[in-house]
Amino acid sequence: MSDYIEPDTPEISNNHNTTDFNNDHTNLSNVDISNPFESINDDIIQDNSAETTKSSRGTLDESIIQTLKRDINDINLTLKKVVYPHFPSRQLLSSRGNSTDNLPQETTTQSINEQQPNIEDISANSDLWAPLIFIITYSLCVSHAHTLFSSLFVLCWIMLLIMSLHMRLTKPYENVNLISYVSLSGYCIFPQVINAILTQILFPILIKISGSGRHWTIRIITLLKLITLVLCLLWSLTSISLVTKSKGFIQIFPLGLCLLGLGWLATIL
């Protein structure tokens, strides 16, 4: 018993228990004897196992690679809920157009809301690791790891804070705290990171590769930069407005302004 390492959270211990008991009862290193109500809690844990994935971090009995993989998977899971489905594709736009044209308004709103992930579910599992990673990547790409990095890093966090404050102030009746809004906004700048990678790394490489006919290449790439800016801006804006259920000009315009500022910096610097 002396070599037993107690996990940080009871949930993780119980998760380990359920999996390990199923696999092999002889592996006692993961058995948590510190919780006498373990068997009573099993039913609750099993029901909530999907929801507790985010809180089940911080174990000491796994390798760093495993922890990193799990964290990246968690971030990817949230991105799947928050960002990926809201790419401004023809399907999304047409579904919106059809729904608003043909169906009654109440039914339309209901169906849209059923498709959207619940903000409280997402915000309950919010984290700041993903925004930190996105902001560092964005700042590195845009500044080319030079002196501008610190300014961009601070500016990005200020932008997230401003967006969160705006949402908090315009929607005081929502049961979401400021940090959750910061996290959600941070996830929604993911398209801006893609924009920064494309405009600051990929497009310059394309210009260097094309030796002859350089003027036309630059013209095309400049146009591509503008198109990427608009697409990524629409993507970010759609994501953040759908996930936070921001509606109307008053709620969306400031978000668009902040995201446009970030996108423009990546395009012009």
């Binding site: 068997s39 009573i40 039913d43 609750i44 029901d47 109440e106 709103t109 209901q110 809301n113 404050l165 705006h166 908090r168 102030l169 315009t170 929607k171 005081p172 009746y173 049961n175 400021l178 210009i207 350089r214 003027h215 036309w216 630059i218 013209r219 400049t222 146009l223 930069k225 503008l226 259920k245 509606k247 109307g248 000009f249 008053i250 315009f253 400031p254 302004l257 446009l260 500022g261 423009w264 395009t267 012009i268």
Partner: protein, 359 residues
């Protein structure tokens, strides 16, 4: 969640303090209004236009003990009925349920607690609650000549907001930052097919970022600090005008019975910030024009004169706007109040400094 292990514990008192001692009492962590609204949201979660978010945001909810003390224990059927009543009162904001004693108790308790203190974020949310139509109407009226941005000259606390002042100013700063870069992008990147980093001198690129910083502090001070100074002058000027026996308007009398020459909406800080914020909206259109003219200034020297002419026109328009919003229109007496001299003076300084950010 059916748990036989939990079920086995029901009704058994283990003589120890625990959850089983409080099973007959209502759960203090359950907010009936929240439950009602969230259940409503599940069915159709769009924001209802009549939803009184401003009062919800700025009033303290009653303490749990206050509400519970005023009401008898609720049966499950009553609790369900209460949820429905709260739900309907949130949506319709009508008096159909005014006979419900629980609702009255909650409202009374909220009133006794008063507004939120300014230290909380939700206190400021009332300044950001406005409809798109209101914003659009004010924005368009601020661009027209001889129109008040507020719906009436009378003092109305509900008409004050900070949304327009803050976000119009931010939009102007962003336009000021974006437009020179956009011109360079089109001129060098698309028309000439050259790399901006090679074609545009680094000094010019640095200038764009310095101009951004200068725009931020300039517009920040003009939109939020100058109104505070002007308010002090307005309050002093208003008192002096009354003491000196200057002709006053007979129809516009404020709550305390004093005659006024200054518009009542401009007599408080938030109202004045709103006036200054919407007054900036003209620069949303002037600054891009100035940037385009400025990009031609290297080739045509007359462009500099055109720039000053444009900024003078913008100054005249904004000065007229300020006079319209701050001086009371109901006053038949034509007098340039002492305040207006200061307001126009500040505005001249601001316009000239803004002009220098072009160079």
């Amino acid at each position: 969640m059916s748990n036989t292990k939990y079920g086995a514990l029901n009704g058994i008192d283990d003589d120890l303090d625990g959850v089983d001692d409080f099973t007959n009492e209502p759960n203090p962590f359950e907010d009936t209004r929240h439950v009602a609204s969230s259940s409503k949201n599940n069915s159709s979660s769009h924001i209802v236009p009549d939803f009184d978010t401003k009062s919800m945001a700025t009033t303290l909810l009653p303490d749990y003990n206050d509400v519970v003390a005023d009401q008898p224990p609720l049966q499950p059927i009553q609790q369900q009925h209460l949820n429905e009543l709260f739900s309907s009162s949130n949506n319709n904001n009508n008096n159909n349920n005014s006979n419900n004693s629980n609702n009255v108790a909650a409202t009374t308790a909220a009133g006794e607690h008063g507004e939120l203190p300014p230290g909380l974020i939700n206190y400021y949310s009332k300044f950001f609650q406005l409809s798109t139509e209101t914003f659009k109407g004010r924005f368009l009226r601020s661009l027209r000549i001889n129109q008040l941005i507020f719906e009436s000259e009378d003092y109305n606390p509900e008409s004050r907001e900070l949304f327009g002042a803050i976000w119009i100013t931010c939009a102007i700063v962003l336009v000021k930052f974006m437009f020179p870069g956009l011109i360079n992008l089109f001129h060098y990147g698309i028309i000439k097919g050259e790399r901006i980093s090679e074609s545009v001198p680094s000094n010019d690129r640095d200038k764009i970022y310095w101009n951004l910083i200068h725009s931020i502090w300039l517009f920040g001070i003009y939109s939020f600090v100058v109104p505070f100074i002007v308010l002090q002058i307005i309050l002093k000027d208003d008192t002096n005008g009354e003491e000196n026996g200057l002709p006053q308007n007979e129809t516009s009398i404020d709550g305390s019975g004093r005659h006024m020459t200054i518009n009542s909406n401009a007599k408080n800080l938030i109202g004045l910030i709103t006036v200054y914020g919407y007054g900036n909206s003209i620069w949303l259109f002037i600054l891009p024009i100035l940037d385009i003219v400025n990009s031609l200034a290297t080739k045509f020297k007359i462009a500099i004169a055109i720039e000053w002419a444009i900024i003078a026109l913008a100054y005249v328009k904004t000065a007229q706007y300020m006079n319209m919003q701050i001086c009371n229109r109901g006053n038949g007496h034509v007098r340039l109040p002492f305040t207006m001299i200061f307001i126009l003076g500040f505005h001249i300084i601001f316009s000239v400094l803004l002009m220098f950010t072009l160079y």
